[in-house]
Symmetry: C3
Subunit: 132 residues, 3 copies
């Protein structure tokens, strides 16, 4: 079964989508695969307990791939255009999570996040494949 979810990101950073994805899972056992249909947003599984871990992860990647680096030639859409593509390439476009006893087999501290890489954010689409 293929489903779609949409996430309205209001700006750069990690947006938790665990509940939204879990709500689509109606099988007892199987596999749920997420695919993000964009080249400047990506997927990551991260700690959902302490918000400082999330903040440090965002800050660290911003430092590794800074906005407006004169090294970039591709800047049609602004100083955060090329960093968005690089960050997406370094993280995941697809992610597969087994389903066990009717639930996503996430660890105790794991949450699923859509990582928006553009400063302004936008409406992002994630396609889900859910199979036995």
């Amino acid at each position: 079964m293929v489903e779609r979810v949409w996430v309205d990101t209001r700006g750069r950073g990690l947006h938790e989508i665990t509940a939204m994805v879990a709500a689509k899972v109606k099988i007892v056992e199987g596999l749920c695969t997420l695919f993000v249909r964009h080249t400047s947003a990506s997927l990551v599984v991260q700690e959902n307990a302490d918000p400082s871990a999330k903040a440090d992860l965002e800050r660290w990647l911003d430092r590794l791939v800074p906005d407006g680096d004169p090294f970039y030639r591709h800047d049609t859409e602004g100083p955060d255009d090329m960093p968005g593509h690089i960050k997406a390439a370094l993280t995941a476009t697809s992610l597969s999570i087994p389903v066990l006893e009717g639930r996503l087999a996430l660890g105790t501290w794991q949450g699923i996040y859509l990582w928006e890489h553009r400063l302004r954010g936008s409406r992002r689409e994630v396609v889900l494949h859910i199979g036995p």
Copy 2:
């Protein structure tokens, strides 16, 4: 169903394989998973519109993981040996894309690329699993 495709890379960089993969997809709905059988080549979904995005992505990763860094001890196959393994670890070895209405559910600007990390290139094999 398991299929195989081969890509003759003539050198380092992103080689688009979207059409080659799409040609193997003959189901209406399901999931297509790609797996690259090498440790110095990888997979990435990136913008296929403006070639400067592709070029900047390649240049950026070459700067992060430079050839011939004296830090590397493993250099049996030359100055691009170890950078190839590191770049492969930072990007994807497998990638799953849902199939919807008989097509890969890629976004408008998304293309699938095999990323060759060795300077010389070679014949690369990607195994595809296509299921309902």
Copy 3:
């Protein structure tokens, strides 16, 4: 079918799990998906021939994401806490490998590794989904 394997890591670094995963694969053709249930351990497919490649990969990532960087604000669990999360985000949480003729379709030099990012290590769980 969903299976689980446990890996007792005794410290940071790549722990090969190829044989452990292969032992669970009892189908002739299909797909085997691995998912790691932690945010400071991850998955990677790497060369299993020359141990110096593995060592350089570990050293390189330790240099990119050093322990105890004053940049991190999240350090509840020590100087290797935040680097663990960052390294996990840069590598894979899930990995899918086609099965062909009763075997994982790994390349000649490919091994599957659990990458422990915490200095002390611990008991890590990988959930496997194996389907046709």
